[in-house]
Symmetry: C2
Amino acid sequence: MERSAIPDSTSPEPGAESLESGCAPEAARDTAPAVTLLICTTCRAPGNDAPPDAERDGARLLASACAATVSDGVAVVGVSCLANCKRALSAAMVRRDGWTYVFGDLSPDSAADLLAGAALLAGSQDGLMPWRGRPDELKRGMVARIPPLSLPKETR
Amino acid sequence: MERSAIPDSTSPEPGAESLESGCAPEAARDTAPAVTLLICTTCRAPGNDAPPDAERDGARLLASACAATVSDGVAVVGVSCLANCKRALSAAMVRRDGWTYVFGDLSPDSAADLLAGAALLAGSQDGLMPWRGRPDELKRGMVARIPPLSLPKETR
């Protein structure tokens, strides 16, 4: 399937060839990261009508994040499609035993804000990304959050 | 914090009091569910200007899902806020060792489609929700998907 396919009611999502690259070899890590930052490498910025085989804005965002200083406890991985195409560029953060976040309306220059948010999430006590101190781009660009299934449940 | 708060750039998300109810007691399950369907109980349908303390459309959707027949391997849980407010009503599905999906633009009548999608996801071989056979509402309403971190990674 062409990687530029955008999921909608007529075209299916790409398949499972998803986690495609990271900033550092897994073998180089002593411990599992507290937060994995997943950056969609297929996204094009709104209005970018470059040919499909041109470098994608999402791939530029990933490269920028990998070139930056990444906090301890944070891993950065490229993903071929997060299916958040309506609000590209897109990224997600998965906190181990905590919450998962999806962000949209990002730009190729969003690496610093994403890494700041990932560090906040990695250091949080309750597994949520604190609102205070969160970069504005990660407030405006909030798409969804998903709780960890380990949270206690009340039964009706 | 008031439960009707909607996350945006000025108002923070609700806290971590998130997984609030399920269709069946955990003790009644023999095994962990393959798929957990999380339904946002705070969402109001667009245009619904009922008072904040009126029953929420999302709570109606949860009640409808719990009243329906739920496939083996699927659990249904209410969540107080998935922060997908721009495309309410909202739900997420978490496949154990598989993909997580977020859906929006749902209605109080979407329970059957959500449960059909959850059953598809629970039965899939690759941890993805098949496109073929997926209810149209879960194609049009696709908000995001997040891969499992267990997928093999290539290192650049």
